[in-house]
Symmetry: C2
Subunit: 208 residues, 2 copies
């Protein structure tokens, strides 16, 4: 049986992806589950169902609730939280740089730092300066990374990754895939980790 692993699909613009990104490291390590960080873009997925912005902007009651709910979750978890302006932020550059970083070994740290910049420090991650600052705090020289991030190779990889998300049935973020099962939402992180631990060979697992 393969070592337990979990795919963590996230979108840098997503509030609940922030919460999940801050939680997943400790929980996964305690559960002995390896995590693959998989940034993707929700924009094309939303567009395919007729939305041109976040559903939290399109549906005001849902949006008002989300801001309060995230605030409560963060208080409970002791996480700093600040409502990003604008929302949603453009996550294109951050996602491309994350792909480079995940290759080069500083990706997870970069992802957490981007989420912190956006949701705790009031930065706009759509701006190159914010991304460059994050890279500097990690001791990574921005220029070559940003060049690689904007190369065709990385662009294609992010596009492919977003198409794969769509194929996998993802419709929101964060999402987790454990042993072929899809789990949606920060609330499902613990259940997804258990699923990854138990593996597909258990008879207790019901058929889908």
């Amino acid at each position: 049986m393969a070592a337990p692993s979990l795919e963590f699909w996230f979108e840098f613009a997503s509030t609940y992806s922030y919460v999940a990104a801050m939680r997943i490291g400790a929980l996964a390590s305690k559960a002995n589950v390896a995590v693959q960080w998989r940034p993707f873009l929700l924009g094309p997925i939303f567009k395919a169902q007729g939305w041109d912005t976040s559903p939290f902007n399109l549906y005001p009651a849902k949006g008002r609730y989300m801001w309060r709910d995230v605030e409560r979750q963060c208080v409970e978890l002791g996480l700093p939280f600040r409502r990003p302006e604008p929302f949603p932020q453009s996550s294109l550059m951050a996602s491309r740089v994350a792909l480079v970083g995940l290759d080069e070994g500083w990706g997870e740290e970069f992802c957490r730092a981007v989420f912190r910049a956006e949701f705790a420090e009031g930065r706009n991650i759509g701006e190159g300066a914010a991304i460059a600052d994050v890279l500097c705090t990690l001791g990574v020289t921005p220029e070559p990374v940003l060049a690689r991030a904007q190369g065709d190779d990385t662009k294609t990889r992010l596009r492919n990754q977003t198409e794969e998300a769509q194929r996998l049935g993802l419709f929101g973020a964060p999402s987790f895939i454990a042993d072929g099962e899809l789990f949606w939402g920060n609330d499902r992180l613990e259940q997804a980790l258990s699923w990854a631990q138990v593996g597909s060979s258990t008879p207790a697992r019901m058929s889908s």
Copy 2:
């Protein structure tokens, strides 16, 4: 300080309302929180945002996920589950009868029995016969109850309750209100109960 209480807003057509309705009794009693059961209709709320059916039908990826997720939740909780046909079912009559029952002292039991009929036993709760059968199993004579449920008084009460839900910012079901705070989703039941227990007088509570 008032005794802790929680408003439980639910929609009979809603899958996650079923799960919450089956869980709330034991959890609330353990937490010493009184629960007010408040049936309402999501239809008018969905219509106001341009939807003519459940978002789980409008957005297929979300719908596919929901069916699998509810199935997994029910397995974990040991709850029977069967996908209702049609979905969503008409919850108008069940909601009106529930209002009568909540007045007469058999309302909660009726609500759980309706949810079971719909989500465990394959009945269509939009049909009068299914509602009458549920009443019979509770030892309640259907005719006078159904007459009262279809009277203007009950119709107006359900309409008012649905309008109140909208005013309170509800956009989905189940929802919970504890001490003025809105919580959405079966996943938030435990948090809503804690909120009800702690009350509004605690300094640790952050401002909204």
